[in-house]
Point group: C2
Chain length 432, copies 2
Amino acid sequence: MVSVPTEFNTKMDTDSLRVMMRELGANAKAASRALMSASTADKNAALMAAADAISHRQADLIAENKKDLELGRARGLNAALMDRLELNAERVESMADGLRQIAALPDPVGEISDLSFRPSGIQVGRMRVPLGVVGIIYESRPNVTADAAALCLKSGNAAILRGGSEAAHSNQAIARCIHDGLRAAGLPLAAVQVVATTDRAAVSALVQMEEYVDIIVPRGGKGLIERVSADARVPVIKHLHGVCHVYIDDTADIDKAVAIAVNAKTQRYGTCNTMETLLVAESIAPKVLPLLAKEYAAKGVELRGCARTLKIITDAKAASEEDWHEEYLAPILSVRMVDGLDQALDHIHEYSSHHTESIVSESYSATQRFLREVDSSSVMVNTSTRFADGFEYGLGAEIGISTDKIHARGPVGLHGLTSQKYIVLGDGHIRR
Amino acid sequence: MVSVPTEFNTKMDTDSLRVMMRELGANAKAASRALMSASTADKNAALMAAADAISHRQADLIAENKKDLELGRARGLNAALMDRLELNAERVESMADGLRQIAALPDPVGEISDLSFRPSGIQVGRMRVPLGVVGIIYESRPNVTADAAALCLKSGNAAILRGGSEAAHSNQAIARCIHDGLRAAGLPLAAVQVVATTDRAAVSALVQMEEYVDIIVPRGGKGLIERVSADARVPVIKHLHGVCHVYIDDTADIDKAVAIAVNAKTQRYGTCNTMETLLVAESIAPKVLPLLAKEYAAKGVELRGCARTLKIITDAKAASEEDWHEEYLAPILSVRMVDGLDQALDHIHEYSSHHTESIVSESYSATQRFLREVDSSSVMVNTSTRFADGFEYGLGAEIGISTDKIHARGPVGLHGLTSQKYIVLGDGHIRR
C-alpha cells in the first residue's frame, strides 16, 4: 500500500498555508541580509560541504527517491516523467559535482565596475549585489533543487524552492544535505528553504509575497510558466518557449549550411534551443534543400514545407499557418523558402519566440544586418542554435534561459541573479 | 468662459478607448522595428531638428501653454502646480537645449561587449539593444514630453507618452515639434506618440498592453506610481520615494560631517535625494550635534530627535515612530543617535526606501562595510546624498531613479532603456 506521508500536506487550510508561507518569506528575507555580506570563502565552504553530504548520503537519497518513484508509479506517471524523477548513483554524484563546479566559479558579488571621477570630484561606480530572495518553482527533476540552491547561494541570494509534488521526498532529502553544508559554513539555514507542502496554493502565495520575494524563476513547461506569470506580483524571469530559426542566405557555404541545419534540428529534439523552422533563400534552395532532405530522411525527421519548398522536396507534407508557430520538440521541421534576407527577417519578426536565431551566410552585410535586426535573446552567425546555453556561453551554470527583455536576456547564470547598485566615493563633497 | 477643447476627450466610451489605445500600441511596435536599426546619425538628426523646431516655435508653444494655464487657473490648481506647468521663453529654450545634449551623448545601441572565444571555437558576446516600446506616464511639467521622447528615441525605443491632463495643449504642441524632427530625419512619426485623451482609463489600457509595450516608466508622485504599479501587467521601473539617510560615524571628520549633513538636507528640500533622517554615532554626537543644530536653526530646519538626541539638542521636538518612515520633502529632519555602525545599519535596513544613503567616516573598515551592506540604489562615502542623479553620475539625462532591484537600479539613463542580447559568431560550428 502506498500512502502520502504526513509530512507533506497535499492540501492545507488557507490560513495555515498563508501563515506558513509568510514565515518562510520572513526567514528568507532575514537570511538574505546575512548572505549579502557573506564571504566568498564561506559560501564556497557551504557548497563544498553540501556536495560532500550528497556524496556521503547517496544511499539515503536513493532510498528517499524510491518513495517518490513508488508514488509516481501508483499515480501512473509516464515513462519520460519517471525517468526524469529517478536518482541513481551516477545522477547523485553528478549533482554533487554540479555544486563543486559552482563553488569554483568567480563570486559576482561585490564586483566593482566603471569607477571613475566626475567633474564635481566624486568617484562614481557600480557594485554588483544580490537581488535578495529568489523563489524557484520547478517540476519533476530533483537535481534542480541542488542546482538552484547552489546558484542562489553563490550569488548571495536566499532561495525558496518549490519543487514538484512528485519529487517531494527527494527534494527534502537534498535540502537536508544543503543544510549540512550551510551549517558547516556557519551560514543561516533559512538561506535555502524547500516548501514542505505540495498544495498548489503555496505557489500563488509565493509569487505574491512582494515584501519578501525579489524575483521568481519558474523552470518547467509552458503551462507552469504561464500559470506563474499570470498570478505573480513579484517580477518573473520568464522562459516561455523556443521557436528557433536557422536562415540559409543566398551566399551561404553549402557544407556549413547542411552541417548547421542538421545539427540544430537533430542533435537533440526536446530542447528549447532546437531549430523548429528552417528558412532558405530562393536562389540557394535548389542546391541545399535536396541535400538536407536526404539527411533529414536518414534521421527520420518529418518535413513540413511551404508551397515553394514542396516543389523541391516533393515528398514533404504541406505546412499550415500553425506550423510556423509550433515548438515541436520532436523530429518534425517546418521549412519555408524566402526571397532573401528581408523576407527572412519579416518571418522571424512575426513568428520567433525571441529565443535563438542563426543565419548561415558568407555576406558581411547580411550577417551585420541579421545581428542587428533580429530581436532575440541569442542571435548567431554560422553557428548551430544548439549552442544557446549557459555552459556553452561560459556562464558555468544557468538557472534558465530568459526570453524577456527586462533585467536578464538569454541564459541566466550567476550575474542574472544579481543587480548593480551605484557607489559614490567622496571626501566631504557637497553639491553647489 | 473656459471650455475643454474638443480635441482632448476627457471621457471616452470604453470600446473606442480600447481601439484607440491598441492602435497606438500597434503603431509603436511597428515603429520600434525601424528605430531598432536606425542609424545614430538619423536619430541625432531627428533630435537636432526637433530642437530647432522647438526654438523656432517658441511663440506657438507659449500660446498653447497659456491655454493650459488658463484651464489650470479655472480648475484652481495651486501655485506650485501652476509654476511647474508654465512655459516661458527660457524654459522653452532649455527644453531645446536638452534635446541637443541628448543628441551629443554616445549611442548605446549596438555596443558590443565581452566578445570572446569559447573552448568550442564559437565567439560569444553581448550587444546592447533597445527594449522596444516604452510607455511613460507623467504629471504637470511639459518639458518631460521632450526629455522622455528624446531619451527613448536616442536609445532606439518607440515612446508612448501620457502626460497630465493639465498640460494637454502644451504636450501636443511639443509633440508636433518632435514630429517635425522625425519627419526631417525620415523616421516614422509613430516613434513618439502622445496619448490624445485625458481619460484616466487610457493609463490602465496602456499599462496592460503586454503585446505592445515593453516597459512602463511612471514619473510623478508616490500616488501616481502606486496606482500604475497596482494596475500594470507590463514591467514598471518604479521610483517610489526617497527616505535617504546620512550616518555620521565615530571616526567622522567633523568639518566634512557638518558640511555634508547641512548640504544633504538644505540644498533643496523637495527632491527625492534629500536627506530625511540623520543618524549620529553616540561618541561623536556631543561634538557634532550642537554645531549642526546651530546650522539648521539658521536655515529654519525643524529637528525631531530621539530621546538621546534631545539630551543634546534640548529644543528639538521628540520624534515619533512615524518620523523614521517619513519623506518630509520639507525643512524638517529626524535625528537619531545610534551606538555605532551596527545600529546605523539596522536602522537603515528597517526604514530606508533603498534610494540613497551616505556614511561620513574616516574608518576604512566602516566605509567598506557600509558600501557592502547597505542595500540601496546609491551608497555613498563622505558625499552629500544630493549627488544622486543622472547628470551628476555622468549619464547625461535620466528618465527616473529606480528603487527597484530588477533591470535598472538608481538613476536610469540611456542604458537603462536598453537591454543586452547575446551574439554568437561561428564558422560552421555544430554542437557535438
